[in-house]
């Protein structure tokens, strides 16, 4: 086999490329900045693999078309950004109730309202706490490089099928628009098991099937909700992903995800050079959140700093995860601004000096 070939590509295109290579041949979407390269790539490349690209009349239609396709068991996806993702929340809730697998990408943009088209992490709560109605969770993956956008998109399809769940890939305008080298690869598995006993394929030689989230009979709704909860518990047990950098000797641990984690990595390299023992915990799965990693780490390191491009969202989950005697500082910048490595160098050094 020849050496893996690098390609120079935009984050959004890396996602689209990964999806097609993962066997996703059905895409439904509606234009919105800063993710338009995803539908454009799909429109150009899906016909060649016998797939189907459809531009819907709204994000509401996109997510419902995705319900119709996901029910047949094929790999399928949609993508959008903040305002469009808000419109899809009803559909997310139905995906959860109906237990259908699919992938949604949110290349988030600043809000609230129409907001701006630059990067933000203001959609953290909406992503992990459930933006739609009911007691449900999505798997939320938070890549921080072009390569990881590619890798986690493939992982998103696998996890969606493993748990019959909607998987959200949460990026932002920085990650979607940045152009960098990635190494594309082909996964072994490019389709779900065709023998799954819930697929809607027409009742040929078997009893008719139904995909529904309506449970009116006495006790059935509670039973269904406990069943969903058991699934979320399994996810927390088996499929948490987290990256730890230089935490072994760290006196201060920074917690950050996505593009901010990337900027933090540059800042930490600089503070380490200046002799400060600082580490990084980067949650890759925002749900399931790496609670155990933080609990364990909090047993030996007592000082934490959470950095986010919002006014304080993931910091709540960090505080809930750590032992009560840990000190948690927060540095946040709301939609409309992006911290530089120098900003973060200053914040980290100042926090460190106060220890």
């Amino acid at each position: 086999m020849s050496a893996p070939k690098k390609v120079f590509t935009k984050g959004n295109e890396a996602i689209a490329m990964a999806a097609i290579n993962a066997g996703c041949h059905y895409y439904f979407g509606y234009p919105i900045t800063p993710q338009n390269e995803i539908p454009e790539y799909m429109a150009e490349h899906l016909p060649a693999v016998g797939g189907e690209f459809l531009q819907a009349e709204s994000e509401i239609a996109s997510i419902n078309m995705l319900i119709g396709a996901a029910a047949t068991g094929v790999r399928c996806m949609t993508s959008s950004s903040g305002p469009g993702i808000s419109l899809m929340q009803e559909g997310f809730s139905y995906f959860a109730g109906n237990e259908l697998p699919a992938v949604v990408v949110n290349m988030s943009r600043q809000g609230p309202g129409l907001g701006g088209i630059n990067a933000t992490q203001g959609d953290y709560f909406q992503s992990v706490k459930g933006g739609g109605h009911g007691d449900y969770k999505l798997i939320v993956l938070a890549p921080h490089t072009g390569q990881e956008l590619y890798d986690l998109t493939i992982k998103a399809f696998e996890l969606a099928e493993k748990y019959r769940i909607l998987t959200l890939v949460l990026g932002d305008a920085i990650l979607g628009q940045i152009k960098e080298p990635i190494v594309p690869w082909l996964p072994e598995k490019t389709a779900g098991d065709p023998d799954r006993d819930w697929l809607i394929t027409g009742a040929k030689g078997r009893a008719p099937r139904r995909i529904t989230s309506l449970f009116l009979a006495d006790g059935e709704m509670e039973k269904h909700n406990w069943h969903l909860q058991e699934k979320y518990d399994r996810l927390e047990r088996d499929d948490v992903m987290v990256e730890e950098v230089d935490t072994e000797d760290a006196k201060l641990v920074v917690v950050a995800f996505g593009s901010v984690a990337r900027i933090v990595k540059s800042a930490i390299a600089q503070v380490r050079e200046a002799g400060m023992k600082v580490g990084l915990v980067r949650p890759i799965t925002l749900f399931p959140f790496p609670r155990q990693t933080l609990l364990t780490l909090g047993g030996r390191t007592k000082n934490f700093l959470v950095a986010e491009m919002n006014t304080g969202q993931m910091v709540e989950d960090v505080r809930l995860s750590l032992p009560g005697d840990c000190q948690v500082e927060f540095y946040g910048r709301p939609g409309g601004s992006v911290p530089t490595p120098e900003d973060l160098f200053d914040v980290i050094s100042e926090t460190y000096k106060k220890l």
Partner: protein
């Protein structure tokens, strides 16, 4: 003894939960008869909507997906784009299709998505208890128009069949009723034609069926049935407004 009448294969033997005098049972049967006629039960997917017909999956012996309120046409589009050789139909009421789902049905029709939409119009929200629908007639009382529908406040009853017939996409757009044996026969024929259009790949087919809601109209089944002829049909005239023939397809 020769059996002369039986339940269609495409129906289950579960008794309907519908109120006495409601037309849903008749419409369910006509759809099932059409599926039997073309022998497509085993490759049909129904898309249920939200309203009295949400329990579609209890009565049809086909695979069924439940759609969020109003979104049945979009869900059906997604399914049909994957299962191109299957028959995909939605079954929606007037609240579901003509209010919250207006955008989805118009765009599915305009794209000519090769699905069949059965639109049951009884001019009221049945399941939620008799609220005003977009198709509620002027002056008609409902729980949210207690003094009667007023065109200045609520607008006029919406004519979906006429609207959809104006689009290029659909292969068949028709309005029928099932209030008399003669109308049932005509409705049977049109519903069959609608599925034939889909089977022949001619694109989106739409049948509006005028229906009663004796419970929420506050009428006996007989009076409700009479109201179809006296009040509904004069405003919502029956007939096929659009049908693609061979020449159209060429």
């Amino acid at each position: 003894m020769k059996q002369v009448f039986k339940r269609p294969e495409s129906m289950t033997d579960k008794p309907f939960h519908f109120c006495p005098g409601c037309h849903h049972g008749i419409v369910h049967r006509l759809v099932a008869e059409a599926l039997d006629h073309f022998d497509v039960r085993e490759k049909t997917v129904g898309v249920a909507s939200v309203g009295c017909s949400v329990f579609l999956y209890d009565y049809f012996a086909v695979d069924v997906i439940e759609a969020p309120h109003g979104r049945a046409a979009a869900v059906a589009t997604g399914t049909k784009r994957v299962l191109k050789d299957h028959i995909v139909f939605t079954y929606q009421g007037d609240g579901d299709l003509a209010a919250i789902g207006t955008a989805e049905v118009i765009h599915a029709a305009n794209r000519g998505d090769n699905i069949t939409v059965i639109f049951v119009n009884n001019g009221i929200y049945g399941m939620t208890g008799g609220q005003m629908a977009p198709t509620t007639l002027l002056g008609q009382r409902s729980t949210t128009s207690p003094y009667g529908r007023d065109c200045n406040r609520d607008g006029y009853p919406i004519k979906m069949t006429e609207m959809l017939a104006a689009l290029e996409g659909p292969s068949l757009v028709s309005r029928v009723a099932v209030n008399t044996p003669g109308n049932v026969k005509k409705a049977r024929k049109v519903i069959r034609q609608a599925f034939q259009m889909q089977i022949e790949g001619k694109g989106f087919s739409f049948v509006e069926v005028l229906s009663t809601c004796p419970t929420n109209w506050g009428m006996t089944p007989q009076a409700a049935n009479d109201r179809i002829a006296e009040e509904m049909i004069p405003y919502f005239p029956l007939g096929t407004l659009k049908q693609k023939d061979v020449i159209d397809v060429l």
